[in-house]
Symmetry: C2
Subunit: 121 residues, 2 copies
DNA sequence: CCACACCGATTGCATATCGCAAGCAGTTGT
DNA sequence: ACAACTGCTTGCGATATGCAATCGGTGTGG
């Protein structure tokens, strides 16, 4: 993304994270302790397609939300890690969880985590 | 959208708001004091297309984030208003503004509003 | 040494959504 | 009557998405 639609902070955040998958990937790395491509693809309930996951990982690295750590022992098992910018998305994800918990048909077991974070985990 | 990808609160929020325009519309109604179709289309910096705006307004009404108030004096000038659910998105928008202000090239004049909200406006 | 399972990632293809421009019918002000 | 304005629709090319199959490179067991 080269040109921005506007300089509004909310809009700029939307330009980076405003799609159906980017925050799912970040959520799984952040709270689900997933680092590798196959983990992110198969272990999450939503079922992201491999081409979409590859595209999102690439874009999130490009915009500085993730970085790729090579594993010298296992060259194929590169790990995707959160940058400081991504870690600072925690309050945003907490608010998203809190809103979804109150206004959408969230499943009880998955709501617990959101509730704990909301109360200050 | 009939079936949900998962019961995770974050995912459910993304299913409703995870696109480039829904939160822009809500932002303009919430903070920009815009109620009418033409206002939302022409007065915002990002420049939403009319068909996309029509689609988003319809969907946001369907999911219960907006409601349409008829104007008896001006039949053509229907006003779109926030529901209670949408008003409770304020903390989420505040967090989006805060993150964008810190990590994206936000313009100074538009950042002021975000900063004020962040500090508790 | 070699077959095989696994790794991240790519390709092809059908479908859905997007951005843009033009235009619509109904309503309002003069 | 007429022009300006209302919310909204249509056509169309470009782009994004979802799905399945597959790729070349890498580690492993026999």
């Amino acid at each position: 993304m080269d040109e921005h639609r506007s300089g509004c902070p909310i809009n700029l955040t939307l330009e980076v994270l405003g799609d159906r998958w980017s925050l799912i990937v970040i959520r799984d790395i952040m709270f689900g302790n997933r680092r590798h491509f196959r983990e992110l693809m198969t272990l999450s309930d939503e079922g992201i397609a491999s081409n979409v996951l590859a595209d999102r990982l690439k874009r999130l690295v490009e915009v500085g939300l993730l970085w790729k750590r090579d594993n010298p022992a296992h060259k194929q098992k590169a790990a995707y890690c959160l940058t400081e910018s991504a870690i600072e998305l925690v309050p945003l994800l907490v608010q998203m969880g809190a809103w979804g918990r109150r206004h959408m048909p969230a499943s009880p077991e998955l709501s617990v985590r959101a509730q704990l974070l909301e109360e200050g985990g």
